[in-house]
């Protein structure tokens, strides 16, 4: 196995990781600030992808498609927050799980009602397609590099937003003591709607960006949702930093596990059995990582609450 291949796989893992971060950031903020478990976050990812595919199909512009994805997901998020989620902040976790599970059903079948049962088409724009040569003779798809860039950019902006702006201070204060900041005159329900819409927009953006290299179809959000939960639990719920590090860990574990575990088993097994056992173990790797982290640190790497 050559060094070039290893570097390329690490890049792949990073790219997968930063896309997970876009999902996980919203999820962890929503949980940290409002104490809400939002299973419907994956549906907002799907909404973003479908909106992008529809607009790209109509206008042919990828930038417009991304804007549409952001807007559609933010709108869907706002509506859902006002109609349903708002009533759940004080409810038990169980009720939240059930209600947002119900939202998944409504979103998925509703989307199928509108767009039909067949996957939609969404492609990378010409100016981002094809591979480029990196130093050291590595050929790597430009679009994936752009994804890494976009993800890191969002991470930096989020960090800036939460630590350097007024809204960020309110958000962090809301995590710690919601009565107090309400008493200080912050319109808490507007803040909640804003945070929810922001999380939704990030999920929608991730859906559109990833939709261009994957398949835009009903149910696309659920596998990502589970992984995003794994990420925020590993990182510690409510922590943006934790979500970032958790995303990279999960992205790298999943990608590198899939490549290297079968190779590892080939050392002491025959090829056919090794590929099968290795792949089986690779598909469990992320969950093994998560349970090990939780057994070691029961509130995740950067979690605060006991």
């Amino acid at each position: 196995m050559s060094a070039i291949l290893i570097i390329e796989q690490v890049l792949n893992g990073l790219q997968f990781g930063v896309m997970l971060f876009l999902m996980a950031a919203g999820l962890t903020l929503i949980f940290g600030v409002m104490g809400l478990i939002n299973l419907a976050h994956g549906s907002l990812y799907m909404v973003g992808a479908f909106a992008a595919a529809a607009v790209a199909g109509a206008t042919g512009s990828f930038v417009l498609a991304l804007i549409a994805a952001l807007a559609a997901a933010a709108c869907a998020g706002t509506i859902v927050e006002i109609v349903v989620i708002r009533r759940l902040y004080r409810a038990a976790h169980l009720d939240q799980v059930l209600a947002t599970f119900a939202l998944i059903l409504i979103f998925s079948e509703g989307t199928r009602w509108v767009f039909g049962s067949f996957p939609l088409f969404l492609d990378i724009p010409d100016y981002l397609s094809g591979p480029i040569a990196l130093p050291g003779g590595i050929e790597y798809p430009l679009y994936r590099l752009a994804l890494i860039g976009a993800g890191v950019l969002v991470a930096v902006e989020l960090w800036w937003l939460t630590s350097r702006t007024r809204i960020g201070i309110q958000i962090r204060a809301g995590e710690n003591d919601r009565e107090m900041i309400a008493a200080l005159g912050v319109d808490i329900s507007r803040l909640y709607t804003l945070v929810f819409a922001m999380g939704a927009a990030l999920a929608g953006l991730a859906g559109a960006l990833v939709g261009a290299i994957q398949s835009v179809q009903v149910g696309m959000g659920e596998p990502v949702l589970i992984l995003a939960f794994v990420v925020i639990v590993i990182g510690g719920i409510g922590s943006i930093k934790g979500a970032f590090i958790g995303s990279l860990l999960v992205g790298l574990t999943d990608t590198l596990g899939g490549v290297f575990l079968p190779e590892l088993f080939k050392v002491f097994m025959d090829v056919g059995a090794a590929t099968q056992t290795g792949s089986a173990l690779a598909s469990m790797a992320v969950y093994i990582l998560m349970s090990v982290v939780l057994i070691w640190r029961p509130t995740g790497l950067f979690g605060m609450r006991a």
Partner: protein, 327 residues
Amino acid sequence: MIGERYINGLVLAGFLAVPIWALAMDEPFTITLATRASVLAMAAVGLNIALGIGGLVSLGHAVFFGLGGYAMGILAHHAQTHAALDLGFLAIEGSRSMPVIWITAVTVSALAALLIGLLSLRTTGVYFIMITLAFGQMFFFFSISWSAYGGEDGLSIYVRNGFPGLDTLVPIQFFGLCFTALCAALLLHWRLRASPFGMALNAARQVPRRVETVGLNPMRLKLLAFVVSGAVTGLAGALFADLNRFVSPTMFSWQLSGELIVLIIIGGVGRLMGPVIGAALFVALEHFLGGLTDFWHVWLGAILLLIVLFARGGLIGILTGKDGPRV
């Protein structure tokens, strides 16, 4: 408002009446539906021991359901192919006898619950939900790629396993068996809740520190509840597999864990009969809505949403006018 005790009696009576009516009207499929509802109810009753009394929201109970199912599948598969299960140091004959399968299912799932409980109970709240989910996903992916027992295709058992003195292929007799098992699980839940153990467990859910100060170990209480809970769900899994004469990795899926929780919430969390009402309603909705429109999930979602938003305490909560315990 109606007392919970009357509701409980009515529900059980209704559960018995439907299949008997179906038998009289010669509608065997209705009996199959009632059997499905009672098996799902039993799985949720198992979960309700951990969730309702102990406050342990497990999103991984499909593990035990699936283990029970595969206990049936693997034993019956070996009996069907007349090849002993060779573990290297020990060769196990397959079996087509339900009692043997049940004992295996209960033992295996109790052991798994002990192990998973030991590791997971170090965490609480959302972390507990997620770590149980992680164990569920591990079993799910493992079973998909385990080709010796069919992988994703699952295992088909051509004839339902036998129970001494019964013809299990007759729908009403198999229903009787499943319904009896459900009643036994309900009895267990009821006795547990009223026992000193149940009281201590309930207290450990609400104020763990006080339980500790009276010299009880809340961790051990919770672990025991988790093991009993897993064992009951495991037995339900074995029955479910026999109902379908088929096991597959979907029995391990997180959607199934989620459905079990849904059943409990529909009926009412922490209520003895909550899962039974929930399962009956769920199976009925699945059957009737599914017959009306391809897009029945939308309506199912809307109904669930209405229940959460406007019927805190589930259906039993509406009927009795009292909220259930918070979890």
